[in-house]
């Protein structure tokens, strides 16, 4: 799920950046440091949409660096248990398949894949129905349901299932060719 929230961060800036473009330097450093990171509490920071407030700088003794408290608005993505996501398959093996929904890695184990789909090894490993009408392989788009999340300090890993109503392949790259 996506959220638009206000976060705060202490930014350290080198004295060489002090000048008329101090604020611009601070914002560009903030974007570089924060965008694409993940925190267990808020999820993945997708993009910074604006800087609300830059507080008074605090000079650090000995180094000359200045710490600025910065409040910024950002879009974050946090997956939840029970959420339905659309993801792209990145790897298929006999244990199941891995998929990516933006920055989130999702693993769907083979016993959470419908029973009528069987693993086919070969040049392009895939899960195929007995009649061959549906195929899950690398770069396939699937709709899946998250059944569990593991939240670490720097990453979020999910377990998904396609063994439920209205879940499964939504676009097959092999069919387009």
């Amino acid at each position: 799920m996506f959220f638009h929230i206000v976060l705060e961060r202490n930014m350290q800036l080198h004295p060489r950046h002090f000048g008329p473009h101090l604020r611009d330097k601070l914002v560009s450093k903030l974007i570089k440091d924060v965008e694409g990171t993940c925190s267990g509490r808020h999820g993945f920071v997708v993009a910074i949409t604006g800087v609300e407030d830059v507080g008074k700088g605090l000079i650090r003794e000995g180094t000359g660096y200045v710490t600025f408290p910065v409040k910024y608005q950002c879009v974050v993505f946090r997956p939840f248990k029970g959420e339905i996501l659309e993801a792209v398959v990145t790897m298929v093996n006999k244990m199941g398949f891995f998929a990516e929904a933006g920055p989130v890695q999702i693993f769907v184990s083979n016993h959470l894949i419908p029973d009528d789909m069987e693993f086919q090894s070969g040049d392009v490993p895939n899960y195929t129905t007995s009649d061959g009408s549906v195929k899950i392989q690398k770069d396939s788009e699937v709709r899946l349901k998250i059944i569990g999340t593991r939240v670490d300090a720097t990453e979020i890993f999910c377990i998904g299932t396609i063994k439920d109503d209205f879940l499964g392949v939504i676009s097959d790259p092999g069919a387009a060719v």
Binding site: K94, Q105, G148
Partner: protein, 462 residues
Amino acid sequence: MGSMEPFNRLVRLAARAFYDDISMKGDNQPKTSRGDNRGMAVVVLDALTRRQWVREEDLAKALKLHSKQLRRILRFFEEEKLVTRDHRKESAKGAKIYSAAAAAAGDGQSITKEGEEKVKMHTHSYCCLDYAQICDVVRYRIHRMKKKLKDELDSRNTIQHYICPNCKKRYSAFDALQLISYTDEYFHCENCNGELVAESDKLASEEMGDGDDNARKRRREKLKDMQQRIDEQLKPLQAQLNRVKDLPAPEFGSLQSWERANIGAFGTADPSAADSSRNPQGQYGTPMPYLGETKVEVALSGTGVKDEGAESGTNGNGLKVLPPWMIKQGMNLTKEQRGETSNSSNLDEKSEVKDEKKQDSKEDEKSIQDEYIKAYYEALRKRQDEEEAKRKIQQEGDTFASASHSERQVGMKSKREDDDEGVEWEEEQPAGNTAETYKLADLNVEAQESGDEEDEIDWEEG
């Protein structure tokens, strides 16, 4: 007792369905076939359906079981929420009352007469079936069994686990990212690098034979078969639960209330004799002696209460000491109000009413202080004279080194004398006017300062 029968039937069915193969052995006992006591749980539950509250020792005798073994079974049933237990310290008389109640309830036990009853207290345990809770427990247990099988069958929301066949380490699907090997795209153990096997597939391969990709289908068939068998076997229990659902569950209440009710209903036993040894809390023992009604007296006169406006020096119960400016001629005052007692010592010393003794003592103090001041000034003059004499000697000295050395010694000595004198003055000084003590201290400081200045001058000369 007619309403009890469906519940008793439910208990017997539940016992045979869930507890017939449970072996109640201690942890340190070997699980051999010789001492196997499987099915004992069913026997105990059956026996409890024929009784209400029963003492565990009596039940053990009736079932020809060792009391320790029975206690283990009952503890297990208490954890399973089928049985309610009560532990109570009681004498032989208390036990006799219980047996009377049990006989009244139709247990067929007669009251044994003992000539001498021991006063020694023993802890006795009692137990009975909790029918209301048994219904809930059985219903919940069946629901959980069916739900677990259904979830296994649907494989919904179940997180896959993987086992390393070599080192037997278990991993969950959450570890997939760390375990995946990009060479062969399989999961490998972090310890021994062995290829991991999905737990359900491993079980299927053990039970069915080869653990190929179709093992899931075999497992699914096995689960379906199990589900059918469970539905079949639990049909009578389910039917009995439905029958019992609308009936009010029999309740025996607590052990004490049950005893009271049954003794009241029992004609031959003397209830007054039984209840005579009970205290109001329903426990057996010596009752508290009657000491009459408690009377509470509240003193509202306020004599013992200290006024808020009263000074800290005066007692709360005594009269307030009047200040001298309030005392006028013709007033009828007590000695306390005049301030003639020991309490009046806290009054201001500047008041017009003064004792002669106080005046004498003050005059003595002043004269002593004057003498001290004179002595102090004399000592200062002497010291200055000595220092001047020493300075002359130093100037007459041959070398600067010897002079400076002697000078240092002199300085040290003078400082020491200062300290000593200061201490002496402080010790001998009586508690008098503070202003004069400050004067002395100031003088002391001045003297030290002057000494320091002289030292500095000497160093400059050198």
